[in-house]
Symmetry: D2
Subunit: 338 residues, 4 copies
């Protein structure tokens, strides 16, 4: 259920409606839009009686939401969500956002070297795993807190915002302390406890699509975060699992316009994980932007052959320069900038 | 790397080898077998020097393990693992294990009614979700601790062992306290933090296959649990995600002989989630046992139309009776019992 | 649309209804059943006027068919179709049918050797490719007519019925001349021209499921054959294409009860193509029969390492003996025989 | 095996090498390139003795081909293949090729109306099915020869080249007579008899990717056509079958750079079949061109609600105008034109 407030409604009207919703045993989610405020209603206790709300001051209309996801849907919020990080970086506006960096944070020196290169080429957010979800228990599991400290240093030295993955409650708390954006990885897309925890964090959440998630499941996973009160969620297509074996995963570029159609959250693309092959990454990055993606997450490493993880899919800084030039031209062709 | 001890090796010999492995900076995993003990070696610090170990007393041979999973592999332990629950129920022996019960624990009365029916038909373990991983944040999320208390009651009244899903660290601790076996669900198959935590629990772990996990990824997920010292893991095929739309998931029956070939852990089948359609469940249960499964997990509900979750795929107690009769005949045909 | 005739309806009544259907511009398909005759109506010209037919002599009722397939559906014909080959072999009755033989017909001597072995173990139909659909144009394409002549010889010497694949109109005519059953392979499941041609042949059609066909598409492919007047179609599950990589294809055992539920045609299983791995074939054969399959198609070769195609998935004659023993026990457990 | 001729080799040298290859029992395929000629060698009789060829006049080197496909591979022919149709339309050059038109040819008037509109927007090739492969035998199967005559008329009136699908040997002959390019559809991608027949036709072949074909299988299907002597093959990605359900198929955009990397044939994209949803088609068209596609095939209909097939995925002429404007901007961004 969604309450649409009149353009003339006052903050007091909005608060009165929220209070009434709470009184009825539900949770209100006030979402201010460009011209008017909408209030999403969630709760587990069956249908709400619309009539009492419809009659409150400032209420324009009360409309049912037909999708299994509510707060993320375009029905509830027609305007695009734009997320602003403390460094000034924005995700979801006219300018594309590019998140770049190594798969794992390895050393201070290497991180700074890569960060300076990607910043120069136009990236605004630095990535690097401190807590790594690895298929094998015997593979490198990340530097942990030491990795977060290196990310702090990168931020201080370069002005880039930082984003890194949280794997569980403990790492989520630490990531939220140190970084500008909390990544939830593909393998945890339906780790609902972690999603709820992220919904109570005060930082934006970068939620990757699970490798066999349908769009509806993906949006419901985002809904878990919003339903806890955190409306700052960024989606990211990173390839799905299919029979097709020319690349590590199949980059489902069509999910970008489909997600844009169904929901108001920004969506980025991760061509590095989608492809797993270096020669594919630039064409996929171009395709993603052409299809309407709001930005990219790209793995960049200056010595991929020495990388502690995912070396084969990392591009070199020079290739990243080329990627940014290519993407800038595509961005312009679709009315955007980098 | 795997150390195979001589049949004549003493417990002291085994301990001396373990001590040496620890001294070298690795972790030993002593696995007593029917005739001899094997010691798996894991650790993150590169290859181990085999020579110093080969010369210790009681060591028959030191062999490299070629698979990405080690402790779960048949190379390391040729004998089948058999898991014994405190109620006397066994998983992995000649007798098939049948886990049955409702999708969610709902009420005391309903749980007891169903439990008595499934016990009478031959089930030895009761299932019922107390913490439910639901696609939508607005769906019924389970009774939590109250659910666990109902499971305790079922156990006390019927003598059935209990198994329920843990979603995160907190619920895992509680499940480990109350129940005989901890379920890790398909959506958490690569929640590596949870797997490690389960590896430190003192109860057997029932690990469901992720819906897009390859066999190798699945076995590596199990390896996470074993590598923390908990060797009591039960696998369960529950259907994978494919294009095929005649059922909710595609029951990958062939993974059963493939898993048996590659690893020593017991593997059950869950025809309820695999199919999602009531008429399919008995044929799939028969197929699983014919293919070599060590047992079944089946959703049973006496009023599926009132179930708080998964009603459409639950079978009625009478259908469960039929299933058990059918399965008993197949079991006999493959040299097993129920 | 389906016309169900009264039990007392005479052949003349049936003919009069068919004539009326033709007069209205549609095609009647009279399908005599155990107790009464049904007449399927197909045609491209929009809905038929039921009233004029309902009033004809001997008509019990006129019912709409709700599925995209009609003549193959259980709605149209509730009884199982049983197909009888000239050798006396039956497909679809209580007794399981086992089709066995090498992937390709290679030499007279080898074919006879294998045929005698599989007959002794209980197979009733011999398979062997004379026209081979090969992924590469440079791979062995089969012996063609010479292969068919060898199949004739096998039939004459052993009394086994024969089944081989047709690839196009020309080979279909030749196969129909020489063999007892015409195979349409997975890659041609939606080769609609070939299906129509097979529908005009006078021999039963063995139609394999396409590797990415849904059940509905599969049944509509069979419908192409029936709609041309050939009601003798045998289905065969042979594995579908998914991400799962422990076997060559994923054996979709659940499609067997689903097909049985939706249509009246017999369905066999081909564990050889489904698995591609020798150790898997017996467990999959057992699973198929346990799930309700009407029989099996199995690749058997006495020297798989010398086979001109598919050696790795062929089992040895001794393994086939074991398979037949195992399957016989499962068959008995589900109330059937071999 | 591949023979690379020296830049100074004469046509007579090339012929002498071909003669020697034939003498040894193999088939030579001379492929003139920008600067030098390569001669592919195919045949079924085992490895060829390289030494005798290496010593012939004009031979620079003899190199083994490591892929299962040969004549289509970049190893054999590093230059892009460019195909020229009699109307002057080119496929594979700097200018993108756009094939547009209705799913099925319906009437003369409608075909002409649509053709004029798409030509005006920049399409150079008209599509429209005369022989339709339909999942159901009761669906509209196309106008057949009458459809081909309408395509002739479109060509005469508009100057557009024509392309339509052939389903079998008979329709292939007719299509080759009437049209400028012969389409082999996704369902027939492994109809090897049809591929061989197309390899003996004198017209370019437009070969769509099968819905569950790997890239290697796809290129081997193209190899069937080339191995019969027809080197004019155009590839087309049209979506693959996966679990992802936000669109009819999953558009595998990554196969475009992968195919470009592996083979020298042009590759187009068909966003209409890939998506099945009108709002997706323009973004997918942009993505395809950004990823490096050599052009597009798009379904356009002026009255989609009245279309005899695939109305839901056809775009309106006005939308096609927009698509062409959008695509022109992307083309420019990647250094191409429309």
């Amino acid at each position: 259920m969604l309450v649409v407030m009149d353009v003339s409604a006052t903050p007091r009207d909005v608060e009165a409606v929220c209070a009434e919703i709470r009184r009825l045993g539900f949770t209100p989610h006030a979402m201010p839009g460009a011209s008017r405020t909408a209030i999403g209603i969630t709760g587990n206790q069956g249908p709400i009686e619309a009539q009492t709300i419809r009659e409150l001051a400032g209420v324009l209309e009360v409309i049912p939401v037909t999708k299994p996801y509510k707060l993320v849907s375009r029905e509830v919020r027609p305007d695009d969500t734009v997320i602003r990080l403390p460094t000034g970086a924005e995700i979801g506006g006219k300018r594309l956002s590019v998140i770049a960096g190594p798969c794992s944070v390895e050393t201070e020196e290497r991180s700074l070297t890569i960060a300076r290169r990607v910043r120069r080429a136009g990236a605004t957010i630095f990535r690097g795993g401190a807590y790594k979800p690895r298929t094998s228990p015997y593979a490198f599991q990340g530097l942990g807190v030491r990795g977060l400290e290196i990310l702090d240093l990168v931020r201080a030295e370069t002005g880039l915002a930082t984003c890194t993955e949280a794997l569980d409650e403990e790492s989520l708390e630490r990531v939220a302390e140190h970084c500008d954006m909390i990544q939830i990885g593909a393998r945890n897309m339906q780790n609902f406890s972690l999603l709820k925890k992220a919904g109570r964090a005060k930082k934006p959440v970068f939620l990757k699509r699970g490798m066999s998630a349908t769009l509806s499941e993906y949006l419901q996973a985002a809904e878990y975060v919003l339903s806890e009160g955190n409306y700052q969620v960024v989606l990211c297509e990173r390839g799905i699992r299919t029979f097709s074996d020319h690349s590590r995963n199949t980059f489902d570029v069509g999910v970008i316009p489909a997600a844009k159609n169904a929901c108001h959250l920004p969506i980025l693309a991760d061509p590095s994980h989608a492809s797993g092959k270096r020669y594919d990454i630039i064409p996929l990055a171009r395709a993603a932007v052409a299809a309407g993606a709001d930005g990219l997450m790209v793995e960049v490493h200056d010595r991929p052959e020495e990388a502690l993880s995912d070396g084969a899919q990392s591009i070199l800084p020079d290739q990243f320069d080329q990627l940014m030039l290519d993407v800038a031209r595509i961005a312009e062709a679709v009315g955007r900038t980098v």
